[in-house]
């Protein structure tokens, strides 16, 4: 057996400190008591799909107009967008969305700063 093998195999074994297992279990229990974060990444595509379906249900006009002719899909889309913009303007959704985004950014920034300090 080589010198290197002999030295590196006969490695000194260290014994974990007495409170090690307890410290691990404490951190495990802290972990379990912490609420599970909402899986936004996984849920986002589904949520977007739901929103789109809802928007489509509310704003998409019937496929056949009053004269009994089928409307072109591009016309449907244009009408849908117009209706959506109109709704946004009427209910000031842009301001609502802006304030929600600002609030979210503030919370996120504070959380990041707090975790950095920790």
């Amino acid at each position: 057996m080589e010198y290197l093998d002999r030295v590196l195999t006969a490695e000194e074994e260290i014994v974990p400190s007495a409170g090690f297992a307890q410290a691990v279990m404490d951190s495990v229990r802290r972990e379990t008591s912490r609420p599970i974060p909402f899986p936004w990444k996984r849920a986002l595509p589904g949520l977007l799909l739901v929103v789109l379906v809802l928007v489509a249900l509310v704003f998409v006009p019937a496929p056949i107009n009053s004269s009994g002719k089928t409307e072109l899909p591009t016309m449907q889309l244009a009408a849908m967008l117009t209706a959506l913009l109109e709704t946004i303007r009427r209910f000031h959704v842009n301001w609502l969305l802006g304030s929600v985004l600002l609030a979210w950014a503030c919370v996120n920034l504070s959380a990041r700063l707090a975790s950095l300090r920790r």
Partner: protein, 206 residues
């Protein structure tokens, strides 16, 4: 001849221990997954020694080794459901721990002394100018940390697993051939460095 026999005996003893603990591990994991968090304590008590020792070989700092091992247990706890039982629990646990130790040391490297510093200790040692055998062995172990990461990891895991290349490869999630090549290169680098610094002519023994 004697060290080889000792190594074989310790290897056999360890493999028997591993087989006994495998069934206990599986039962405890089942309990934890069923919601019995306290069952994880048995896993921690069973594997705290190996995980702390593995971490210690990576960083040579006792308190940091415990912190790293604690993080490894926490990560194992979080990912317990990902253990697919196609390999022993210990294999999976070592792979999780090794992965964590590697990434932690990449972020904050272990405090090492250079080979040159090791040599300086030699020069300042008394009388015949040679390090005492214990000090020299200690310096050799510390010198492993001066190797580039990929060679260092292969060397550490190989000796941690009692010179079992397959086990080292599983822990590193690398093919055996890669580990063998890295190990060979790492050992050669280590040998050259130490030979140069200690001017030792007797590296090989029958």
């Amino acid at each position: 001849m004697q060290p080889t026999l000792q190594l074989t005996r310790s290897y056999l003893l360890r493999s028997v221990e591993l087989r006994v603990s495998a069934s206990e591990d599986e039962a405890d994991v089942e309990k934890v997954l069923a919601g019995e968090v306290s069952a994880f304590e048995s896993i921690v008590r069973r594997w705290q020694g190996p995980l702390v020792n593995l971490a210690y070989r990576f960083c040579r700092d006792r308190s940091r080794a415990e912190e790293m091992a604690q993080d490894a247990f926490l990560r194992a706890y979080r990912g317990l459901g990902q253990w697919r039982k196609d390999a022993a629990f210990s294999t999976w646990l070592f792979a999780v721990a090794t992965n964590l130790y590697r990434s932690q040391l990449r972020r904050i490297p272990a405090q090492t002394i250079s080979i040159e510093d090791v040599a300086r200790v030699q020069v300042s040692s008394p009388a015949d100018g040679c390090l005492a055998e214990v000090d020299r062995d200690h310096a050799v172990r510390k010198a492993v940390l001066t190797l580039p990461a990929k060679y260092r990891e292969a060397v550490i895991l190989f000796y941690f697993h009692d010179m079992d290349i397959a086990a080292a490869a599983r822990s590193l999630a690398l093919p055996e051939g890669t580990v063998k090549a890295r190990l060979s290169r790492g050992r050669e680098m280590l040998r050259q460095k130490l030979q140069r610094q200690f001017r030792m002519s007797r590296w090989r023994e029958a």
